[in-house]
């Protein structure tokens, strides 16, 4: 696939590197015990440290360290046994300490890579430069009062993982595929909820253009893009803007820009000249973070299976199609639901049901898979009845509807609806016998060669069974008895 873009004077290549900030799912903040949850009353989740009170000291939250190590392993990256927390100094009212605790020269995770899936089914490897832990800042609220700015420190000090890629990305599609894949992994690991609207996952986009194969161009950085759609729009706009400037004979300013979703454009936020000197230096309140190999091995041993591994297992061991495996493995909870159901029933049949009826009903009711009204065990019970020929597909759908809306188990619904087929040979034989003895003339005709009367007999037996007899079994038994 060509990722080049057309300019007036020929083709241009886009060069993109992404810095993703992922909020670590944790009870507490990175260095304080205050809650890290979203959506609370302003300034209700603030410890004395978060408020920058005198004499308060940071203590590392082990959960955040574990999340960084897990993510590093999932990104095929080197875990640094010694990493250092630095102070990044700047003044802003939503930064109470006057510095952000981050990792600068010695991050917890070094180089790695991530394979992303592109549309045509091909994959591409994106290099990971590093992952480090840092604190989030608070929030400045400029729209609450005409003359004053309010500060909400609930977010101040919440743990973030900053994940930086190499400039290996060459199109909006690739950027979107990278973030989609990264988010999938973070959610699988349970280290970040991946919710871009709430800001728990956000991207800074470093972007430049060049003639294919030429020297790298000057880049701009688009800050805090908080949806994949906006990311695509921002990249498309910024690439076009840069190409036009260069083709008009201008130069790109190395600057920080903001994406305005309402207007679909990027705007200059601050130029390189305005950039801060952050005066990074090791935080003397925090000794170097030292990990031992046993700790890393222990984390590795209890890491969940990652989406790529799951997908290939679904295909190779459970016989799913690539497409079905992709759809089901894309979400950890859906995969878990599927796997639970597939433990007891035919996986391919279960996959059809999950992707058809289950996803359909979830969609219709606006629910997520963990809120499904039919437990995976019950879906499995239903599918088993289809497999065993006890009910037809059509009957199963009728039953599923009732299971979903009334929260009943599969067996109970089948019984209440009287759907369970009679497959018991003895019972069917009795019915067949009574139908035959009630229709001696038709039996004679059949035996004389009018074999199309078989349908009539089947109909009579089905009628006698009130539709519950298994038609296949009825057929077989009729043929057997009439053929004698």
């Amino acid at each position: 696939m060509s990722t080049l873009i057309e300019g007036r004077e020929g083709q241009w290549e886009l060069v993109i590197g992404l810095e993703t900030h992922a909020q670590v799912t944790s009870e507490a903040k990175l260095f304080s015990g205050a809650s890290a949850s979203f959506g609370a009353k302003p300034n209700s989740h603030v410890s004395f440290l978060d408020a920058g009170m005198p004499g308060m000291l940071p203590v590392i939250n082990q959960r955040c360290v574990e999340a960084a190590v897990m993510t590093g392993i999932a990104l095929n990256a080197e875990i640094n046994l010694v990493s250092i927390f630095d102070r990044k100094n700047y003044f802003y009212p939503d930064l109470p300490l006057g510095y952000q605790i981050s990792q600068f020269s010695d991050p917890i995770v070094g180089e790695g890579w991530l394979d992303i899936e592109l549309d045509e089914g091909s994959t591409k490897r994106v290099g990971i430069t590093r992952l480090h832990l840092e604190q989030d800042a608070g929030k400045s609220l400029h729209d609450q009062d005409p003359f004053r700015t309010f500060i909400d420190l609930n977010r101040a000090g919440v743990g973030l993982m900053e994940i930086v890629t190499e400039p290996d990305i060459h199109s909006a599609d690739e950027a979107a595929a990278y973030v989609t894949k990264l988010r999938e992994i973070l959610r699988y690991l349970g280290v970040c909820d991946g919710n871009m609207e709430e800001g728990s996952l956000r991207c800074d986009i470093n972007i430049s253009v060049r003639k294919p194969g030429g020297a790298l161009g000057t880049r701009t950085e688009i800050k805090n893009v908080n949806s994949i759609r906006f990311m695509r729009e921002a990249i498309a706009f910024e690439a076009r803007r840069q190409v036009e400037i260069i083709e008009d004979g201008g130069d790109i300013d190395q600057e920080t820009r903001l994406f305005d979703p309402d207007r679909g454009e990027t705007r200059s936020m601050r130029s390189k000249e305005d950039s801060h000197d952050y005066r990074y230096f090791p935080d003397p309140d925090l000794p170097p973070l030292v990990l031992d190999t046993n700790y890393i091995a222990e984390i590795k041993s209890r890491m969940p299976e990652l989406p790529d591994a799951k997908r290939s297992r679904f295909v190779n061991e459970l016989g799913l199609t690539e497409y079905d495996a992709n759809v089901i493995a894309a979400d950890k909870s859906s995969a878990a639901y599927f796997e639970k159901a597939a433990e007891k029933a035919e996986p391919k049949l279960v996959a059809n049901w999950v992707m058809g009826e289950v996803f359909g009903r979830l969609n219709k009711d606006g629910l997520s898979i963990v809120e499904a009204n039919v437990a995976p065990e019950e879906l499995a019970a239903l599918v088993v009845m289809i497999q065993d020929g006890k009910i037809s597909g059509r009957q199963a759908k009728e039953a599923f509807e009732k299971m979903w809306s009334e929260g009943m188990g599969a067996l109970a619904v089948i019984q209440e609806l009287g759907l369970e087929q009679i497959s018991d040979d003895g019972a069917i034989k009795e019915m067949v016998a009574s139908v035959i003895s009630a229709n001696p003339d038709k039996v004679a005709e059949f035996k004389a060669g009018k074999t199309q009367l078989l349908g009539f007999f089947v109909g009579q037996v089905m009628k006698a069974s009130k539709g519950k007899a298994n038609p296949k079994a009825v057929n077989a038994i009729l043929q057997e008895i009439l053929g004698q």
Binding site: F48, A51, G52, M53, P54, G55, M56, L57, P58, V59, I60, R87, N89, F91, P93, P96, L97, G98, Y99, I151, D277, R279, Y280, F281, P284, D285, L286, P287
Partner: protein, 496 residues
């Protein structure tokens, strides 16, 4: 016992008196509250807490009666106003904190409170502990009780913990807390003729102590005797999970480690401490100290610490660098003083420009400079490397000796106002104390004699990391030999 007699007791003897029922904690506290009042001209306390003291005394008497008291129960102490005390104004001797009342209690003050001590008040210090003469305090300098006569200029008690040292010397507290970043316990102890102990970095929790330079700040006790310092340190020390730099070390019974003598101990005399232009009085007190420990049975050997002279410049890069970030939180946004400005930056400039004193502003600027792009490698990074070399010097020396004996300061207490126009000569006060700070080593200052003007002079003992025991033992040997029992004149007159 008269109030004057009560004020003469040290912790060890007062503790016995309290437990034997010779007097009550209330009586002892009342005597000290009188002394606090009588010594007000020394500007020792920024905030006096007499009501709290009496309440503490009532509780102490109860606990003594119930038999649940500790060695520190009933001891009226001063608290350097750098320790956050819940419900009591904490200033760090700076205007920028305004009327700040902490909603929390520092680990050290909480431990002392739990041990039954009596809080007399918050003592004066150099602003944010930056200074060696107490003159940078926004509340005016504390005054050294020694040689305070009408015809002579008042002397500095030293700094930064000058108020605490003056309190103990003047008999306005039985003991006091200090913090030491480059000598802020040892130098004032030497100037005031008392004992001051800076334990190993990590021994005492920094949680709730207003930070100056985090990698150097360490709390410790001021007391009248080595034994008292050991008793008080035992209460202060201990691992604190709230301070990531606090050492996971068990706290020994320091008092028990004092006894046993110094026979067979090897004591190093670092030749580089024999600096050019060293006043004869310092050289001579050092020689006397060497004789004392030799007579007590220790073996004295000369050692070399080649990086000694690099310690001061290293310190004056590392400490301001850390301070420049530590003091960034005082921005007028959330607590403390705020001076309005036209915009955000105007408010920052006005608040910080007016809230901080000159010396603090100087150090913030030095610190900001040495961390700046383009200067970081030449200053901060290089200083960190030199700091490592300084530590290695000590490590090497401790292969052959158990402790080091040096002067504490290059001179006796000087008049307030001297050296004010020359920051470098002021910084030189710390030349003997800063190396142990950079290496995080335990060090004590013990009064060993007086100069020809009758002013006290102290010697410093530096030990291996977490070997406060050897430091105390040698300190006790010096104390026993020196029999330094002089008291500042003011005290004896003031308390009659």
């Amino acid at each position: 016992m008269s109030k004057s007699e009560l004020l003469q007791l040290d912790i060890a003897t007062a503790g016995k008196g309290l437990r034997d029922g010779d007097f009550t904690a209330i009586e002892l506290t009342e005597a000290y509250l009188d002394a606090v009042e009588a010594s007000r001209e020394l500007n020792i306390f920024i905030t006096e807490t007499p009501d709290r003291a009496m309440a503490d005394a009532v509780a102490a008497d109860k606990s003594i009666k119930a038999g649940t008291s500790s060695k520190m129960t009933g001891m009226p102490i001063g608290m350097k106003d750098l320790f956050c005390t819940q419900g009591i104004k904490t200033t760090a001797a700076s205007n920028i904190l305004g009327e700040f009342i902490p909603p929390y209690e520092s680990t050290i003050s909480a431990r002392l409170k739990a041990a039954g001590t009596i809080l007399l008040g918050k003592t004066n210090l150099d602003e944010f502990a930056m200074g060696s003469s107490n003159t940078t305090s926004a509340f005016g300098a504390a005054i050294n009780p020694w040689e305070l006569t009408e015809d002579k200029k008042p002397l500095t008690p030293g700094g930064s913990s000058g108020g605490s040292a003056a309190a103990v010397a003047a008999g306005a507290a039985i003991a006091a807390t200090g913090t030491d970043t480059g000598g802020s316990i040892r130098q004032p102890a030497a100037f005031c003729g008392i004992v001051g102990m800076k334990p190993t970095y990590g021994r005492c929790s920094r949680w709730g102590v207003v930070a100056f330079a985090s990698s150097l700040d360490q709390a410790g006790p001021f007391a009248r005797t080595v034994r008292d310092a050991a008793i008080m340190l035992e209460t202060m020390a201990g691992h604190d999970p709230k301070d990531s730099t606090s050492a996971a070390q068990a706290t020994p019974n320091f008092e028990a480690l004092i006894d046993g003598g110094v026979k067979g101990m090897r004591v190093g005399i670092p030749k580089e401490y024999r600096v050019e232009d060293m006043p004869e009085e310092i050289d001579s007190i050092w020689r006397r100290g060497i004789e004392m420990v030799t007579a007590a049975g220790a073996e004295v050997v000369e050692v070399s610490l080649p990086m000694t002279m690099s310690a001061l410049p290293t310190y004056y890069i590392v400490a301001p660098a850390e301070a420049s970030a530590n003091l960034a939180r005082y921005d007028g946004v959330r607590y403390g003083a705020r001076v309005e400005g036209d915009d955000l930056n105007g408010m920052y400039s006005a608040t910080r420009g007016q809230g901080f004193g000159k010396e603090v502003r100087r150090r913030i600027m030095i610190g900001t400079y040495v961390l700046s792009a383009g200067y970081y490698d030449a200053y901060y990074k290089k200083a960190q490397r030199v700091r490592t070399l300084i530590s290695q010097d000590f490590d090497n020396a401790f292969h052959s000796v158990d402790a080091l004996l040096t002067p504490t300061t290059p001179g006796a207490a000087f008049p307030i106002g001297e050296k004010e126009d020359d920051p470098i000569s002021m910084y030189l006060n710390d030349v003997f104390t800063v190396p142990a700070s950079l290496a995080g080593l335990p060090a004590i200052s013990v009064p060993v004699g007086s100069n020809e003007n009758g002013l006290p002079l102290g010697l410093q003992i530096i030990g291996r990391p977490f070997d406060e025991g050897s430091v105390f033992r040698l300190g006790q040997a010096l104390e026993d030999a020196a029999q330094f029992d002089k008291r500042p004149r003011l005290t004896l007159e003031g308390f009659k």
